[in-house]
Assembly symmetry: C2
Homo-oligomer: 252 residues x 2
DNA sequence: CGGCTCATTGACCAACGTCAATGCCGGTGG
DNA sequence: CCACCGGCATTGACGTTGGTCAATGAGCCG
């Protein structure tokens, strides 16, 4: 099942029948691999296929005139890169692999068929784009109104819940294949300051790291430290979910 | 024509036939007025009608636990407040009037009919939500990566172009019915600092203000000062548009 | 004339950026 | 096996942007 993680995510919104799942699976095309730092889609492209991230992490980003970068979204397995772009002639930003990635290509016409035949799948896909937008809004809040250390805490909470929804967590620990520089470019700061933030969170015993593995010792403490409210993720049973794992990790 | 500004905006994306325009107009319901600072939609609501802003400015915002506010979008005439919410059970943020507003209510079932019958209108409406999302991404870039004074300059450029698209500008001047505090809550700073930013832009002769009227003396200077690239607004003939008025202001 | 909201000012301070090293670690060629 | 290299993490000193606090003014309205 190459669409396992997508389905796992969509089922947070609505139950899908076996037929629907199969139809989704049957709509998929090739899988292509991308190396870390490679672009999956570049600004100016107008891709013919929908891109589904199956493995690895990627980012939506823009490069400014002065060469600085702003990352506007993280994509993890189960996330779609460009559900919509058909309507805008060209991408106004790029999507790049943050770690080695596997990307599933879904020809647009097959997607269109799928969505026409399966109302339920169609709604679930739209739901996922609405959640993406909600996440974007929350990032704006995060950058606009929270201090650097809380900002990092907030992001870590979010990524834990998102990773959990696609079965990529092991209790309070998950892999976050990002450099501190990438995180800095996400949260509007410098790598040096990002580093200081990590040290604060570690000193407060809110998180610890080993390589790219992050572990959150007591999610509730980090949640309240970071003023995190999972409502915006629109995950079913959200509030309950902060505390335990709502679904058994999928078998690999 | 109560949908004049919406149509004016949509026609940046595609020409609409007289029949389509009429169908859009016929789908509308009541108009309601809101006073400045009044909420049009509150967090937690799940509205039955689509809300189209016809007059005045409104904002999408969230209030944080510590009482601070983050504004995540400005809505001006022609903008839709909640094209989608049907799919998410409840609003994860509020929409409030910034100035006295007139809001046109469009019953969801009529909208659904309209979109079913008129593919072209449907596409135009989706296009407008995609543009909203693109704007949101650009705001993230703005807050994340630009210094306070450029941030303000960037926003002013954007609002000029958006206002122009719905016939609300008079050359380089337009009404921006916002307090400095609201602007500060938009761009992640304090009102005091926002005030300093205004003074910088005025000192550089990039803008001047009289009451709520803002005038941009030479758009090109402000554009380059603010590192503004109108691509993200996905307005037809964008690049040309920075400089002259692409359409004659609609007769009132 | 108060009383309100909003704009403006100035002194001071903290968060965060800048600059310039240094350390760490995994990978690679010899 | 080991020296070296390159990318990333970390550190410290110091500078700047923007926040805080506390007034003062300016315009509007009953």
């Amino acid at each position: 099942m190459r669409t396992r993680s997508l389905i796992s995510k969509l089922e947070q919104f609505t139950e899908l029948s076996a037929v629907e799942k199969q139809a989704l699976e049957d709509s998929t095309g090739d899988i292509r691999e991308f190396a870390a730092k490679e672009d999956i889609i570049e600004q100016g492209d107008s891709p013919d296929d929908l891109h589904l991230l199956v493995e690895g992490w990627a980012s939506r980003y823009k490069i400014l005139a002065d060469g600085t970068r702003q990352i506007m979204a993280y994509l993890i397995p189960g996330d779609l890169c460009d559900v919509h772009v058909t309507l805008l002639e060209r991408m106004d930003h790029s999507i790049g692999a943050l770690s080695p990635c596997k990307v599933l290509f879904i020809p647009r016409h097959r997607l269109a068929n799928l969505m026409r035949k399966h109302e339920n799948v169609s709604r679930a896909l739209w739901w996922s784009t609405l959640v993406d937008e909600a996440i974007l809004r929350e990032w704006l809040v995060n950058i606009g109104r929270r201090r650097a250390d809380k900002r990092l805490g907030h992001l870590i909470c979010e990524m834990l819940l998102r990773a959990r929804a696609v079965g990529l967590t092991d209790d309070g620990t998950f892999e976050m294949p990002l450099t501190q520089e990438e995180l800095a470019d996400t949260m509007g700061m410098t790598p040096q300051h990002m580093n200081r933030c990590f040290q604060m969170l570690r000193a407060e015993r809110l998180i610890s790291t080993r390589g790219k593995l992050v572990t959150i010792h007591e999610l509730e403490k980090l949640v309240s430290f970071s003023d995190f409210d999972p409502l915006y993720l629109h995950q079913e049973g959200n509030r309950v979910a902060v505390g335990r794992n709502p679904r058994a990790p999928d078998a690999a």
